[in-house]
């Protein structure tokens, strides 16, 4: 299987400089090894610190128990699922898994196929916690961009859908997705969709300078 690699850029929060990164359209063993040997210990350190400081669990990183080795094994060889990863500074900075078999719920595009972001997670050191600044910014956006590009590629016209982790609700609204409200069937997570018009706007917008 050949993996396509696109060169992208992330923001080094400490220096304000750009960092060259790779966006890969697969999750391979090297990424899973990074998840296991680098993300997990870093996450544990964060959780221990939060526990020590008495921070309520509702404010903890919300995907701390995800097992990416399990997630990717479950969809191995299935056409319906695709993985994406972002690598920079010799480490995996973010992972995402998408499902291509779902259909839209939003009234203007009901029943049309879209790219559903099943899981999206950035490395623990890229998330702000207890005043500590994240290392790199732009990883989450890159993975979302990849999902939208895949949607275009597959003929789904950029349509996208996801259940937001509560800490990310505002971000999805900010990038122009439609908030379809909390989903009782999905742990009351907020369900967002992106229409093809919103996807076009997302690609054309230059963002902040």
């Amino acid at each position: 299987m050949t993996v396509d690699i696109s060169i992208i850029y992330l923001l080094d929060v400490a220096t304000g400089d750009s960092v060259e990164a790779e966006l890969r359209d697969a999750i391979e063993q090297a990424q899973l090894d990074d998840w296991h040997t680098k993300w997990q210990p870093a996450l544990l350190a964060v959780l221990q610190e939060l526990a020590r400081k008495g921070v309520p669990m509702s404010q903890w990183p919300q995907s701390w128990h995800w097992n990416w080795a399990q997630k990717t094994a479950r969809v191995q060889g299935l056409l319906a699922f695709r993985g994406f990863s972002v690598a920079a500074l010799g480490e995996t900075q973010g992972l995402a898994q998408v499902d291509l078999t779902k259909t839209c719920r939003e009234s203007n595009q009901r029943g049309k196929p879209f790219v559903y972001l099943e899981y999206l997670e950035v490395a623990p050191w890229n998330r702000p916690k207890l005043g500590a600044a994240p290392r790199l910014r732009g990883v989450g956006s890159a993975l979302i961009t990849a999902a939208i590009a895949l949607s275009e590629d597959e003929g789904f016209k950029g349509r996208l859908g996801l259940h937001s982790l509560p800490q990310a609700d505002d971000f999805y609204r900010k990038i122009g997705m439609t908030d379809l409200g909390q989903d009782v069937a999905y742990q009351n997570l907020r369900y967002f969709e992106m229409t093809s018009e919103q996807a076009r706007a997302f690609f054309e917008k230059e963002g902040e300078r």
Binding site: D25, A80, K112, P113, G155
Partner: protein
Amino acid sequence: MTGKRTMTLNLTDAEMRVLDELSARKDITKTAVLRQALRLYQTIDARIEKGEKLLFENDTTKEKAELMLL
């Protein structure tokens, strides 16, 4: 990802009509419709092989009906 290969399909009139209908309704090309069908078929088949059952549930009555697939 990888290169694409070409295949010629022989479909009946009825099948072509369904393909056209789905393509229009889903707002995707006929090729995309068939690729979706392939994805769904493979995924469903894989889960049934694992011992799971595919069910349809009536949204109002919550009645479940099994969809038998080979």
